[in-house]
């Protein structure tokens, strides 16, 4: 089938199968479909839309069909994306399983592991969370202390993870666990898949400055992880984690480039445009114009780098520059949103559900340059691996 034929068929299928309410923009996190054992659909349409996309394998269009994917080529997957965008179709399913564990399993997992874990991800049946960070470890991931002791067919895991996104709502966790205590720091870590439906695993939400609690602390207290659920060799966890971090980096970056409120719409909302349609404060206007330039530049740079990567030039450590630029830009955008909103931006809670969103999003954006490797770490990587500056 030619790409044009594929496009025509896809368009027709989407037209016929995407419910109208699934073609409206999501108004907040509450509209996202995360799936999982305890998932409650927000609407019948949400359920229907997921079911239909699952039937095509299009929740994970580029995964092999035997693992629940659509088996599409890169070009076909891109066409699907374009066609969904054309009608404003919502993503049928978002999950850390799709973004992170999936790519890791596809690259490092055995056929059995893929068969066991990928289809439930694709169907939205199992919700995963990520267990990397630990209290006190921060950017220094290799110093992890959560321990796994081999005991027959399983590891007994003890320790604590932090910053596990939605751990309280997840079914399984993929975690970095120190299983080879005598190996050098980076070589003693394994990548384990752990079922959270056991007594040895508990979670506690962390309240953030934004007032929200998307993250948890996760505790392992003689938790069990089957050896067959170790991805890669014992001690290979660091390699897999690094591979995944670059995926996470890319996803944070694209979030940074994501639309939403900008200082112009903010100034319009707060009535801070003058009669000529100019931003009333000329100095703020100058700052916003510089943001516009950098925003245009950043979004186009993402496309350029993607194109270059497709063209075989690779991204490599340049991804760190993108992560740095994207997250710093997003913080600046939110700062200028707040300036343009003036006192309106200070609102924290009110009658409307969306009251306080600008302030909470502004605060949320501060984490962009911390999670997935801090800006300082990204600059270190650029300095050392792109510019090849000598070690300090």
């Amino acid at each position: 089938m030619s790409l044009e034929e594929f496009r025509a068929e896809t368009r027709a299928w989407l037209e016929a199968n995407c419910p109208d309410s699934m073609r409206t923009p999501i108004s907040g996190e509450g509209d996202i479909c995360w799936g999982g054992r305890d998932w409650k659909f927000k609407s019948e349409d949400q359920r229907l839309w997921l079911e239909r996309m699952v039937s095509k394998g299009w929740t994970v269009p580029a995964w092999p069909t035997e693992y629940g994917g659509g088996g599409l080529s890169k070009d076909e997957a891109f066409v699907l994306k374009e066609e969904m965008k054309r009608i404003g179709a919502r993503s049928p399913l978002d999950s850390f399983g799709i973004w992170m564990l999936g790519p890791a399993l596809l690259k490092f997992g055995t056929h059995e592991q893929k068969l066991e874990h990928l289809p439930p991800i694709a169907r939205g049946e199992i919700r995963w969370c990520q267990g990397y960070s630990e209290p006190g470890a921060g950017s220094d991931l290799a110093s992890l202390r959560t321990k796994g002791v081999l005991d027959g067919d399983h590891y007994t895991v003890n320790g604590q993870k932090v910053w596990t996104s939605y751990a309280d709502k997840s079914d399984w966790i993929f975690a970095l666990v120190r299983t080879e205590p005598d190996a050098p720091k980076h070589e003693g870590i394994s990548f384990l898949l752990i079922d959270m439906a056991q007594d040895g695993v508990s979670t506690k939400p962390i309240k953030l400055i934004s007032g929200k609690s998307p993250f948890c602390e996760t505790f392992f207290d003689d938790a069990k992880a089957l050896v067959k659920n170790r991805v890669g060799d014992a001690g290979q966890g660091w390699t897999i984690a690094k591979y995944l971090l670059s995926h996470e980096r890319a996803s944070i970056v694209s979030e940074g480039a994501f639309g939403g409120l900008n200082p112009i719409t903010a100034a319009k909302a707060s009535g801070e445009m003058d009669e000529d349609g100019k931003l009333a404060d000329p100095i703020l206007r100058g700052e916003v114009a510089k943001l516009t330039i950098d925003g245009l530049a950043f979004e186009a740079t993402m496309r350029r780098v993607k194109e270059e990567a497709d063209h075989g030039e690779g991204v490599g450590a340049r991804a760190s520059a993108l992560k740095y630029l994207g997250t710093e830009l997003n913080k600046r955008r939110h700062e200028l949103n707040m300036s343009a909103l003036g006192s309106d931006g200070l609102l924290w809670e009110g009658d409307a559900e969306s009251d306080g969103d600008p302030a909470r999003n502004w605060l949320r954006a501060r984490a962009n340059s911390i999670e997935g490797g801090t800006s300082e770490i990204q600059l270190n990587i650029v300095a050392k691996r792109v510019l090849e500056l000598p070690g300090g």
């Binding site: 400055i209 934004s210 404060d281 006192s343 200070l346 609102l347 924290w348 009110g350 300090g392």
Partner: protein
């Protein structure tokens, strides 16, 4: 003028520091927030402030005040910034007291200043009607009606208005001039709506719907309202800049302490040159803010004609520096800086709110350009 504090000022600052640390630490703000306090400040702390004479810091002794001047008021606010103390001090003891003192009639002064000094009265000061500060954009109207006025309009995010007994309201009279009016909070046609803001304060939007005012509601004493209005705003800017400076200082101290202790890659993160240079830069910038705040406060006390420029500059710089101290603080704390458990985020939020009120850094820079004639 001198940058050095005199003994009286030094003592005031030291006693404020120890009082606030004991009575109004950051946990007090957390409690007000978590209790969803209806006015957003502690009445008992406000009484204690009155007992110590703070509420009368700008009130003449004749009216029961201690009359220590703007430098003293700024020092108190700087310390309040350090512990994130929420109180009606700025709107009542600075803005309203100044307005009454400058433009109040003898009757108005006698009626209100002693109550301010004693902590009996909370008066809010209502200026802005749009989202960003601009003292010229006043559309609230006070229309002559017999011997009195009829007041109509809306004010937004008025600090401490939920607990206020009265408001001083900037409104345009028919001659196009801005005048200040004393309005009873319970007057017919006054409606206030609480707005909970990110810094856990509780300002209010106030609607004036054809509110009938007596002729003596107008402030028109030794100085006319419009002159007083501008001067009061300058004073407010300098004092709020002092609070922002206190916010910045404490956020910075917390951060420096943290990066000395916190280890990564086997060493304190404060030993990495990348962070060291940024911390040193921030320290240097804070030195500039410190100077401007002091200069603005002294100018209000000693050389009022120079105050508009210094107050605008101080407000702009303190806004910029306190926001930088907050954002750098969170970044250097890393993940835990994002949690509600640590205080650094509360400082960042207050920096944002205090920065916006009475003009942020962009507004201040524009004002400095105007006052400098370019």
């Amino acid at each position: 003028m001198t940058f050095i504090l005199n003994d009286e000022e030094q003592m005031l600052r030291d006693s404020a520091k120890s009082f606030l640390k004991q009575t109004s630490p950051v946990s007090a703000l957390r409690k007000l927030r978590d209790d969803k306090d209806p006015v957003g400040y502690s009445a008992s702390v406000w009484s204690s402030m009155a007992e110590m004479g703070w509420c009368g810091v700008l009130v003449e002794e004749d009216h029961g005040g201690v009359d220590l001047g703007y430098t003293a008021a700024g020092l108190l606010l700087q310390e309040m910034g350090r512990t994130l103390c929420a109180s009606p001090f700025l709107p009542t003891a600075v803005l309203s007291a100044s307005a009454l003192r400058l433009a109040g009639s003898d009757a108005q002064k006698s009626a209100w200043l002693p109550k301010i000094a004693s902590g009996e009265a909370v008066i809010a000061f209502a200026v802005d009607e749009k989202a960003r500060h601009n003292p010229e954009r006043i559309d609230t109207k006070a229309i002559k009606d017999g011997n009195g006025f009829r007041l109509s309009g809306e004010k937004r995010f008025v600090s401490c208005a939920m607990g206020a007994d009265a408001f001083i309201v900037a409104a345009r009279t028919e001659d196009g001039r801005i005048n200040l009016f004393l309005v009873d909070a319970d007057a017919a046609g006054v409606e206030r709506t609480a707005r909970r803001t990110l810094d856990s304060h509780v300002p209010a939007d106030i609607r004036f719907d054809d509110v009938k005012l007596d002729g003596d509601a107008l402030l028109n004493g030794a100085e006319d309202s419009e002159t007083a209005y501008r001067h009061v705003l300058d004073a407010g800017r300098a004092c709020l800049a002092a609070e922002s400076l206190g916010v910045a200082e404490e956020a910075f101290d917390l951060t420096v302490d943290y990066i000395k202790e916190r280890e990564q890659f086997g060493q304190p993160i404060g030993s990495f040159q990348g962070l060291q240079h940024r911390a040193a830069h921030l320290y240097s910038e804070m030195e500039l803010a410190r100077t401007l705040v002091m200069k603005a406060l002294r100018a209000l006390d000693e050389t009022p004609s120079q105050a508009p420029l210094w107050c605008a500059a101080a407000k702009a710089k303190a806004t910029e520096v306190s926001r930088l101290a907050g954002s750098e603080g969170i970044q250097m704390y890393g993940g835990v800086g994002m949690t509600d458990e640590y205080d650094i985020g509360l400082y960042y939020k207050r920096a944002q709110a205090a920065g916006e009120f009475l003009g942020d850094d962009s507004w201040g820079a524009g004002q400095v350009a105007r006052l400098s004639g370019y």
